[in-house]
């Protein structure tokens, strides 16, 4: 990647983060408030109304939601990012991967803040960090790779197939309910387990819980499989953007 493009990605990420924090009275506090509100809703419904609350339900739920929020917001912004920047790439030639890259970096920075608060909360809650805690890093790295790959692919395709946006929205809703965010996927027996074993989001959330809450090391085989999938999705997205580099500017939205 050329240095200039890297500079643009960096500067644009900084600019968009700054833009977001300046748009509202509470500024970047929203990066914390918004996920907290989001989590409170789920806690109220599943923890209180449905009384699914086992002893550690709060930390269990928060860990799942934090990852889900990172995944969902990044991918959905990826869907719209090329259309949102069409004025720009109609004025100058820029490689299109620049836009999903900015979306990924921007949301990861916001995720970093929320993650720090989650870890702090876990410590206050009384969870003792031990050796497996540090393997959260590779789990999150694979999670980030999967989000980046998915985002690149949806960003590349949706400008040509706008109907996909509707499908992706509904796919997201299905994933929200089928990724074990507010229940433990390990409590299901075969044949239903297959729903989770083939679902990268469910595997990532389960592994994150293993290392942060259950004092267990991640399932490296699962992580390797998800990473492989992430690489395939990402490369497909990049190849598509590259092959259509000068066609995006001609799409009439």
């Amino acid at each position: 990647m050329k240095q200039r493009i890297r500079d643009i990605i960096q500067y644009k990420t900084y600019a968009e983060l700054k833009a977001e924090s300046q748009r509202y009275y509470l500024g970047f506090l929203w990066w914390l408030i918004e996920p907290v509100i989001y989590m409170l809703v789920f806690y109220f419904v599943f923890g209180i109304l449905f009384q699914r609350g086992t002893e550690d339900f709060v930390v269990f739920l928060l860990t799942g939601l934090v990852f889900w929020h990172w995944f969902q917001s990044t991918v959905m912004q990826g869907v719209d990012t090329l259309q949102a920047n069409r004025v720009l790439y109609n004025q100058v030639f820029v490689p299109k991967y620049l836009f999903p890259a900015v979306v990924m970096l921007k949301n990861s920075a916001k995720f970093g803040v929320v993650l720090a608060v989650l870890l702090l909360f876990l410590l206050v809650y009384g969870i003792n960090p031990s050796a497996p805690w540090f393997t959260a890093l590779p789990v999150l790295a694979v999670g980030g790779a999967f989000i980046a790959g998915t985002t690149a692919l949806v960003a590349a395709i949706t400008p040509f197939v706008p109907d996909l946006r509707v499908l992706i929205e509904n796919g997201m809703r299905a994933l929200l309910f089928m990724s074990g965010i507010f229940y433990d996927i390990n409590s299901f027996q075969t044949p239903y387990r297959i729903v989770f074993e083939l679902n990268p989001v469910a595997l990532l959330i389960d592994n994150l819980r293993s290392v942060l809450l259950r004092n267990q090391f991640p399932d490296w085989g699962e992580l390797a499989a998800v990473f492989l999938l992430a690489t395939v999705l990402g490369l497909a997205g990049l190849a598509l953007m590259r092959a259509n580099e000068s066609r995006y500017a001609k799409i009439a939205y």
């Binding site: 200039r4 500067y11 600019a15 700054k18 833009a19 004025q91 100058v92 580099e245 000068s246």
Partner: protein, 230 residues
């Protein structure tokens, strides 16, 4: 006519816009350009004239590489070529200074060069203390001044200019007009699309007349303009 090799060569270039197909009622095609051929030599200024919708902007975009021709080919020398667009990549929440840096990078500079250039842009735009305020607080005239100043300080060897002469209030209009004319008269290669025939006559060595996506005439300025005005 210069004797060097051309910096840009267009051969039978066609650009087609397709409306997206629907389940009921298929896609439609619209050829914005067809069979356009001409060469651009280093240092010359070419005027592009034609009615609204004739294909002038499409032509500049194709030369800039923003869109790719569906037919024919465009050969470019290894040169720095850029379309002189106004307000490229501007974000309302960033200050004038930050927008100038981002815009510079988008127009082809690396970060260092873009930061170096800011002082010149600040001086030319003459926005005083507003230069460090968010763009969202600017009037449209101030925005235009900043946008023009950023574009003006482009360092590209080949400039593609799409009707961006003179912006802002009377004073700035005179100043920006003079500046862009200086820029065009400098050693650079320029393609200038404009409806202002007086400017074309004043600045251009040659004129390409685009009509309905095709080259209607391409020759010395006086010759083409006389025909165009009939």
């Amino acid at each position: 006519m210069p004797t060097d090799a051309p910096v840009v060569s267009l051969r039978s270039v066609g650009v087609c816009y397709r409306s997206r197909g629907r389940l009921l009622g298929g896609a439609t095609e619209y050829w914005a350009l067809s069979d356009v051929s001409f060469d651009v030599y280093p240092g010359e200024t070419i005027g592009i004239v034609g009615r609204n919708g004739a294909g002038k902007t499409t032509l500049l975009k194709a030369i800039a590489g923003i869109i790719e021709p569906d037919q024919g080919s465009i050969a470019r020398e290894e040169i720095n070529l850029s379309m002189l667009s106004l307000q490229v990549g501007f974000l309302p929440q960033l200050s004038g200074r930050e927008n100038a840096i981002l815009s510079g990078m988008l127009l082809g500079l690396d970060r260092n060069a873009a930061e170096h250039r800011v002082a010149d842009i600040e001086a030319f735009a003459d926005l005083g203390g507003h230069f460090n305020e968010p763009l969202a607080t600017y009037s449209s005239g101030m925005r235009a001044r900043l946008g023009f100043s950023c574009a003006l300080h482009s360092t590209a060897d080949v400039l593609l200019i799409d009707e961006v002469l003179g912006v802002g209030d009377q004073n700035f209009r005179v100043k920006s007009n003079a500046a862009i004319k200086d820029l065009i008269r400098s050693n650079r290669t320029v393609l200038l699309a404009s409806h202002n025939l007086a400017t074309i006559r004043e600045l251009c060595d040659r004129v390409v007349w685009i009509d309905n996506g095709r080259v209607r005439a391409a020759a010395a300025t006086g010759e083409v303009l006389d025909e165009y005005m009939q």
